[in-house]
């Protein structure tokens, strides 16, 4: 199971803010991206857009990483500042 959080304009694109992917549980960040893209191409494109970062368990990651049970994945569009 992975918890997925979307922030900023990504949640407008997807129409949701938070989801749990239970079946199948993605084993890696790239598998999670592929699963999200397969069901919503517009979201997939937005996730691959410029400046969109991914955080796993509240730490920004680069490239692909493995996901464990209970991983929290957040997709972060360019930050706006306060």
């Amino acid at each position: 199971m992975a918890r997925v959080l979307l922030f900023g304009r990504l949640r407008d694109v997807a129409g949701w803010r938070e989801r749990e992917l239970v079946d199948p549980a993605p084993a890696s960040l790239s598998a999670l991206r592929a699963a999200l893209t397969a069901e919503d191409a517009a979201l997939g494109e937005a996730l691959a857009g410029p400046g969109v970062q991914a955080a796993v368990d509240k730490a920004v990651v680069r490239g692909d990483v493995g996901l464990g049970p209970g991983s929290e994945v957040a997709f972060l569009p360019p930050m706006s500042g306060g």
Partner: protein
């Protein structure tokens, strides 16, 4: 200390509490940022944070400012959620032995908060809603602190 909160705050009360009982502090500087109406084009600002991520990032910057400017104390209060024009949105206070460090640290923290802090900001107005990204000036302001400090002439 860093606090994210949806509730409005009273900047005067925050400053009074922050300033109390400081016998070795020569300078307290505070800044209050207020949401602008932009001539009626902004009815509400919506500020989104990632709890546990946004506050951790701001804590790290506050710790850096503490060390860099020899601060005795720092307080950052930032609102999230929906904020109306005229409402305070951010409060920064710094305490130091001398004024220069207190001013510089508050300036540096605000430049960071306005450009790099992990928030996502949406403006709601009569023409609809749009996501806002930092202005070029905000990045330039923040970059001032990346360069080595200027040598005094």
């Amino acid at each position: 200390m860093v606090r994210l909160q949806a509730e409005p705050f009273d900047a005067g009360a925050l400053l009074s509490a922050f300033s109390e009982g400081r016998r070795e502090t020569g300078a307290v500087v505070s800044f209050t940022g207020i949401a602008r109406a932009e001539a009626g084009s902004v009815e509400t600002l919506e500020l989104e944070a990632y709890p546990g991520f946004t506050d951790t990032a701001i804590e790290a910057m506050a710790a850096e400012a503490m060390a860099r400017f020899s601060l005795q104390d720092v307080l950052v209060v930032h609102r999230t959620g929906r904020i109306g024009p005229g409402e305070p949105i951010v409060f920064v206070a710094t305490a130091a032995a001398h004024r220069r460090e207190a001013f510089q640290a508050a300036d540096r923290l605000m430049d960071y908060l306005k450009s790099r802090a992990p928030f996502w900001k949406k403006s709601h107005g009569p023409d609809g809603a749009r996501w806002i990204e930092p202005r070029a000036e905000d990045y330039e302001d923040a970059a001032r602190w990346d360069a080595p400090p200027e040598q005094p002439r």
